[in-house]
Amino acid sequence: MLIERNPQQYRRPSTLARTRWARALYVVCALTLVPSLFIHPHAEFGFAEMPAFHALLAFVTGVVLVLAAILLRRLIMRGEDYYEHRT
């Protein structure tokens, strides 16, 4: 029998491994920015030739999506048995 997990369980105190992954991620992010200093991008549109355009786009998109998800959940979340209790 499975017990529904406490949401806190996903956020246990950072283990060593998790910190390592996070550091690796920061390094990778920084590394992807380095070449844009040297390579002139042959982008499809003028605005996309801005250095780090894709990094910025991804970041903004991500933030917007997370916020949208939070707001939408407030509007549309119902109980698990919502459709079973109709009329």
Binding site: L2, I3, E4, R5, P7, Q9, Y10, R11, R12, A22, L25, Y26, V28, C29, L31, T32, L33, P35, S36, I39, H40, P41, H42, A43, E44, F45, F47, A48, A52, F53, H54, A55, L56, L57, A58, F59, T61, G62, V63, L65, V66, A68, A69, I70, L72, R73, I76, M77, R78, G79, E80, Y82, Y83, R86, T87
Partner: protein, 564 residues
């Protein structure tokens, strides 16, 4: 020489599927794998440009038309049928392989159909065969879902029939070529295709039905119906500008739903919807490059989406659970499945050197060539979002989230084999784009692997992962919850039934208030009505299905006679 209606690789699969339930287990499995393989070989050696015709009543049907576009979709449909055959090798069900083969065969037949009447017939068979895949699971909930699913699918068929009838009547031409919105019946046919392609607001049958099939059934379902619709759009509505904004909306709004969903197969269904959006945009652009992009994306998408559905299905098969709230920590128990899932996730997120990267690049290139900057940004953003709602979410919640309450074994060998083959295909098409290009409708002169393209893609992925991590750490990422998130199915699952309920209450209230004065009048009327309509009345006798069928048949015959 085969008769023309049989001379079709799709019919081979349908016939194979029809005899499969009669065979013993081992022979069943031989047919399950042999039929798609034979059908693929058959299709491969038909020269491009081949058509066969046959006469039916006053019309000349074209049951087989092989050209570049049909070839691409035909090849991938056969490959998908073969891979899902491997994946369901362990099943002892007689009906599931049968439904899967008939479904694949009818989708293949629809893609190879050269006229609207043949298209309509195969279109309807896919609806019935795929509904059968839902029904044979036998669960009560699955039956209810199957009923809703079938209604929508048959609805699409009716729109196609109506549109095609108007079109054929007005033009006198039954050939299935470019239709366009200006053609008579054009809007109806677009609506029929749009329902199956899961256009916004018409999409919810997909997320309703796919998570309800069996572990193996969903893999089969994910491949055919929607891609058949994309093919039909590419054939009939290439270059229709209206499709561009429709597709762009499709690439964005399901992302948010996918982030919220708990059932991992529902997450994948929403993400399927997003990927369809990419193809719909490409069809709307309609240039050769764009149609290549749509076809290429259909190919890679069928592969990596099947791979993801297979890995999640393997989890369901082994643990009996598929919701994120109940899963996690399975990488220890199912390392192979976890690895294949990560490959599928990398492919859908368009990591360089994975299949998704190549096909998405083609579409983005086509959008840029035709100067749609807004659409280009939307698609690029959707591509970045992929990591948030599926690329990280699926592997993490199934395999890596902390959970030590589940013990299970690795998936059966045939499932691992199917996932392995699909994963190899995803990587091979990514490493050698020329392989993919060789089956596309038009010649391709495009290399996705330029330094600046790879760098920008890596930026997109790295920073998208960064947002995920930061939102996670801040406690903002919406965690999976056991809950229902309302979508358009609310209209027919809640609003319409409620409306009926309210109407009934109003009726009773009115009757209670004004009823007494009307009594004498209504009583007499009711008495007469009761004579015929109450439980024992002539008009409300229950009849057996057999009698009803007979009467319907008689009515149809009478109608026919009167008509002539």
């Amino acid at each position: 020489m085969l008769p023309a209606w049989l001379n079709n690789p799709g019919m081979l699969l349908i016939i194979a599927g029809s005899v499969i339930p009669l065979l013993p287990y081992r022979l069943r499995m031989v047919v399950l794998l042999g039929a798609p393989a034979a059908s693929l070989l058959w299709l491969w050696q038909i020269p491009l440009g081949t058509t066969t015709t046959m006469a039916l009543l006053d019309y000349t049907l074209t049951p087989l038309r092989v050209d570049g576009l049909a070839f691409t979709f035909g090849v991938i449909f056969n490959v998908a049928a073969f891979l899902s055959g491997v994946y369901m090798w362990h099943t002892h069900s007689r009906l599931e392989p049968a439904a899967a083969l008939i479904y694949a065969g009818s989708a293949l037949g629809a893609v190879l159909a050269g006229d609207l009447i043949t298209l309509f017939m195969f279109w309807e068979v896919t609806a019935i065969a795929s509904a059968l895949l839902l029904v044979i699971r036998g669960l009560r909930d699955a039956m209810i879902v199957a009923r809703r699913y079938l209604l929508v699918q048959i609805g699409s068929g009716l729109f196609l029939m109506g549109g095609a009838a108007i079109y054929i009547h007005a033009t006198g031409d039954i050939a299935f070529g470019h239709i366009g919105l200006d053609a008579p019946g054009g809007w109806l046919i677009l609506l029929a295709f749009g329902i199956k392609a899961a256009f916004p607001l018409l999409h919810n049958w997909l997320q309703d039905a796919y998570p309800s099939a069996s572990a193996t059934g969903t893999v089969v379902l994910s491949a055919f119906t929607t891609k058949m619709a994309i093919y039909a759009l590419a054939r009939g509505y290439a270059g229709t500008d209206l499709l561009i904004p429709i597709g762009a909306v499709m690439t964005i709004f399901p992302i948010v739903y996918a982030m919220l969903a708990n059932d991992l197969r529902r997450v994948l269904s929403y993400s399927l919807n997003v990927q369809l959006g990419f193809m719909v945009v490409a069809v709307g652009i309609g240039t050769e490059l764009a149609l290549n992009g749509a076809a290429a994306h259909a190919v890679t998408h069928i592969l990596y989406k099947a791979l993801l559905f297979m890995s999640v299905g393997a989890v369901l098969h082994q643990t009996g659970h598929v919701r994120a709230t109940e899963l996690g920590g399975l990488a220890r128990h199912m390392p192979w499945t976890a690895a294949f899932c990560v490959i599928g996730a990398a492919s859908i997120s368009a990591f360089p050197f994975m299949a998704g990267f190549v096909s998405k690049s083609l579409i983005l290139k086509a959008v840029a060539y035709e100067h749609w900057p807004g659409i280009w940004i939307t698609l690029t953003a959707a591509s970045a979002g992929a990591l948030l709602y599926v690329g990280i979410k699926i592997p993490y919640f199934a395999f890596f989230a902390p959970n030590d309450q589940i013990e299970c074994k690795e998936a059966p060998i045939n499932m691992r084999l199917a996932m392995g083959l699909t994963a190899i295909a995803c990587i091979a098409l990514g490493l050698l784009p020329s392989l993919l290009y060789s089956i596309l409708p038009y010649p391709v002169d495009y290399n996705p692997y330029t330094a600046s393209h790879i760098v920008s893609q890596l930026q997109l992925l790295a920073f998208s992962a960064l947002v995920f991590w930061l939102a996670w750490r801040a406690g903002l990422y919406p965690l999976p919850k056991r809950a229902v998130h309302l979508d358009t199915d609310w209209v027919y699952r809640m609003l319409l039934p409620r409306f009926g309920y309210v109407a009934e209450r109003v009726y009773h209230a009115v009757l209670a208030k004004f009823g007494s004065g009307m009594n004498s009048v209504t009583e007499r009327g009711m008495g007469r009505l009761r004579l015929r309509y109450d439980a024992r009345g002539v008009m409300s006798r229950t009849w057996s299905t057999g009698w009803m069928t007979l009467w319907v048949a008689i009515l149809l015959v009478v109608y026919l006679v009167l008509y002539y």
